[in-house]
Point group: C2
Chain length 491, copies 2
């Protein structure tokens, strides 16, 4: 048995092209076959579209990409392959006939895996001379991103083939769910299919539209399912008693008509598998710690969704806008009493700001200083309207001194000193303090240039903002000059 | 009708406390009632646990937190409330009796909302004198994070009550799914319940364990459900033909036994609602653009999950480790030919590095420079083992010059010059170039201190690494000194 270097792919639609992208990104060559006339053009286009997403996903070094060639028949493809991944249309007769051809042409130790969403491998392997190397290797769209692959043996599949296929898929960056017994739809599609059919029932009963039914998932349960399935979700809903408590609490509702699908007949055996299974999943970690972990992940996921203005992230953005609108921010006025550095911004160190040493990463010091600058902008009247008018400050130079470390959750307090201000430039100094002890954690001296952001060139600061900055600078001229101002590194 | 300032909450378990946290975080006062002896202690603890997650979620300014007081009866609670949210145990008789009490004590225009997961509001309002103000307001755990609330009217509910309740929940940062017709389980729980019952069938048939069944969701469909429901998922699976094509393609599988739940009886009317609903959801955006958006969000979600070492993120981390292990990184050797600055790191500008102006944010320049430093570390032999031995370099000072902007997707190329090296300090200079034009985008001069990371104090650089750095510094002494070295801001 030789190392897997060349993958044969039969069928080059969304799934076949997705597989090819995943394999080629990891340096394997692909030989593809598809009888459609425009198959090659479409497949190359799909792989090209998938590539940047795979690049963005990983921080690892990139392998030299594998090559893509096209074969003129399934047999020619199979003869060249060290591993065959079938991704033909979802028709059992078609797939069974295709497996017969691939099996006849492939070296006898080459694994032949079907991407079928639900057919029994026993049927697919039924016409093969070497049925023992036929399995299901069921991926999920987009195949180049989602890690799950379900492997399923038919009656004649050799167990060592599942071992080899599992090891191969893991090298391809996947998570292998190895079934020991075949069933139509395998596991994931049975779950998806139940929800899909129930969604159709709800639609059919005129309870809600497709958009409303999708919303019911996207803004609630869907966020949890990205990190835990039904069993762990309900284990957590049971509080410290977990699934055992959940069952006792919800026992009556099991008989309620809350879906068109009935419960399986309850038995002690089922209850044992359910409770013991959840307890094994949870391991030594008590439910309240799982809940805290879930919250941490949900928070960061929702923040990512906000960046993309989608689903729960859009709701979050709207919520923040309401909070900003309702908040009474300090605003500079000509009679503002300025007796020391400005104190306009506080925050806490976020978990995602912390590096492998458990300390706030250097780039996030700068991120937080940027927030302090935004707070100064709000104070002097640079708001959305100012920016929408095409004016903005760009930082052209920053000097940072890192004095002490900060850990996740610690409170930060910022003070800001305006050093000088001229027609187009703002020279300022921020100090980051520990919010409780007041210790100085870091400082930054920065030069900002006022620009016309459409033309990307320096232009004079607008009058009201300049007036505010001049007035603050005049008061701040009386303050001691921070020792870090004007520093030369290593001097 | 007065402004809502005080919320009455009946039942202070996971759901009631979650509601209280959401309301108090937004400045509303809560009056709670729960007959359990330790209710107040537990509720205060739950709110305290929820608080940091809410703080981390938002970038908006925080309101002054609302207060929490306890009433000694449901009537006393209801009499003080401008809005009542019931969250008692899920028993219909108990809830119906409780609604009767609350209704008798509350001002007649006060909305009374039940957190029930599935009971019919017509039943809950049946004993009330003012049934028109009774609705379902069904939230999802954790209530202080997940935005969905389903509002459902009973037969006697007044429509304007749903308007008012919807506006209130939106002010509480929620997404309102307003049903116009009651049904057991409403929408979301019917979908969840179908999947849960199917999961129990799979468990009962000994196909997979609870952990495996959960894995089937977490590593695949669950990631998608955080951003799109079943309908949009399958609309995208239909390619540019959307749901219309998807149905024609999967028509045969609709009859397949892929779950224990049957399809609703197919009709032209159902098909029309399905296809037109999906097309309305997709709007003017073609399927391939939706797919690109889905990919962008999936990538960023998976990167967040990697930070938390959970689900698909754990698979991604393992995949990256494999890539690092397989990659042939340049390593310094005593006979390395060093004729110019080191060229050890390239990357592309990630979408999440870009600010509202469409340009790479200042803090991410520093982040990328940090990656270039890590590449230098790998080159000179500072690896996981070195760090595990308790040695590391900390940056103590950075000076950055921003020369040009960079946009999402642009390639970056870094060059690195070692300026000086002494027993404990490394003085270096990175230049960030555009990967194609070679234009200089930014520079940084940095001073790094070698530390014992357990004791957090400076210690001498270990011999092999020092040897490599000295050899590089000796060669780099012949290079021209970059003009940005030793700069004073504003000088």
């Amino acid at each position: 048995m030789s190392a897997v270097k060349t993958i044969g792919i039969a069928g080059t639609g969304v799934i076949g092209a997705g597989w090819a992208a995943r394999f080629m990104f990891r340096g394997l060559d692909v030989v593809a076959f598809d009888p459609a006339p425009d198959a090659e053009t479409r497949m190359r286009e799909a792989i090209e579209n998938a590539w940047p997403a795979m690049q963005k996903l990983t921080d690892g070094p990139e392998a030299r990409p594998g090559t893509l060639t096209f074969a003129s028949s399934a047999s020619e493809m199979a003869a060249q392959a060290d591993f065959v991944q079938e991704a033909a249309p979802e028709r059992e007769d078609l797939k069974t006939a295709l497996f017969k051809k691939i099996d006849a042409a492939a070296k006898p130790d080459v694994i032949i895996a079907s991407s079928s969403s639900g057919f029994l491998p026993t049927n697919l392997q039924s016409q093969c001379k070497h049925p023992e190397r036929v399995i299901i290797g069921h991926p999920f769209n987009p195949v180049y991103l989602l890690p799950l692959v379900e492997t399923v043996p038919g009656e004649k599949t050799a167990p060592e083939i599942l071992d080899r296929a599992g090891a191969f898929y893991e090298r391809m960056g996947m998570q292998v769910l190895r079934l020991h017994k075949e069933i139509e739809g395998y596991v994931c599609d049975r779950l998806q299919e139940a929800m899909w059919r129930e969604a159709l029932h709800v639609l059919n009963k005129n309870i809600a539209t497709t958009g409303e039914i999708d919303d019911a998932i996207v803004y609630s349960a869907g966020l949890r399912w990205a990190i835990m399935g039904s069993f762990m979700t309900y284990h957590l809903a049971g509080g410290d008693g977990g699934m055992r408590h959940f069952i006792s609490q919800f026992d009556p509702s099991m008989e309620l008509p809350w879906t068109d699908l009935n419960f399986p007949k309850w038995s002690d055996e089922l209850e044992r598998k359910l409770v013991e299974g959840c307890e094994e999943q949870a391991g030594d970690i008590p439910v309240h710690k799982w809940a805290a972990k879930r919250d941490e992940v949900l928070v960061d996921m929702m923040r990512v969704l906000r960046q993309h203005d989608i689903g729960a992230g859009t709701v979050l953005a709207r919520d923040e806008q309401l909070a900003f609108a309702a908040h009474d921010f300090a605003k500079w006025t000509p009679d503002a009493a300025i007796t020391g550095p400005l104190e306009l911004y506080n925050c806490t160190v976020r978990p995602q700001w912390v590096d492998y040493n458990g300390h706030m990463s250097e780039s996030y010091y700068l991120w937080a200083f940027g927030e302090a600058t935004d707070a100064l902008f709000r104070y002097i009247g640079i708001d959305e309207a100012y920016r929408a008018g095409g004016h903005s400050f760009y930082t052209v130079e920053s000097h940072i001194n890192y004095l002490r470390e900060a850990s996740s959750g610690e409170p930060l307090h910022f003070t800001t000193q305006v050093l000088t201000i001229d027609e187009k430039r703002l020279h300022l100094f921020h100090t980051m303090h520990h919010g409780q002890s007041g210790d100085v954690l870091a400082t930054t001296e920065q030069m900002l240039l006022h620009v016309d952001s459409n033309a990307s060139r320096a232009v004079p600061i607008l009058r009201d903002v300049e007036e505010a900055l001049q007035a603050i600078a005049l008061k701040h001229a009386d303050l001691p000059r921070p020792e870090q101002v004007g520093r030369v590194i290593g001097a």
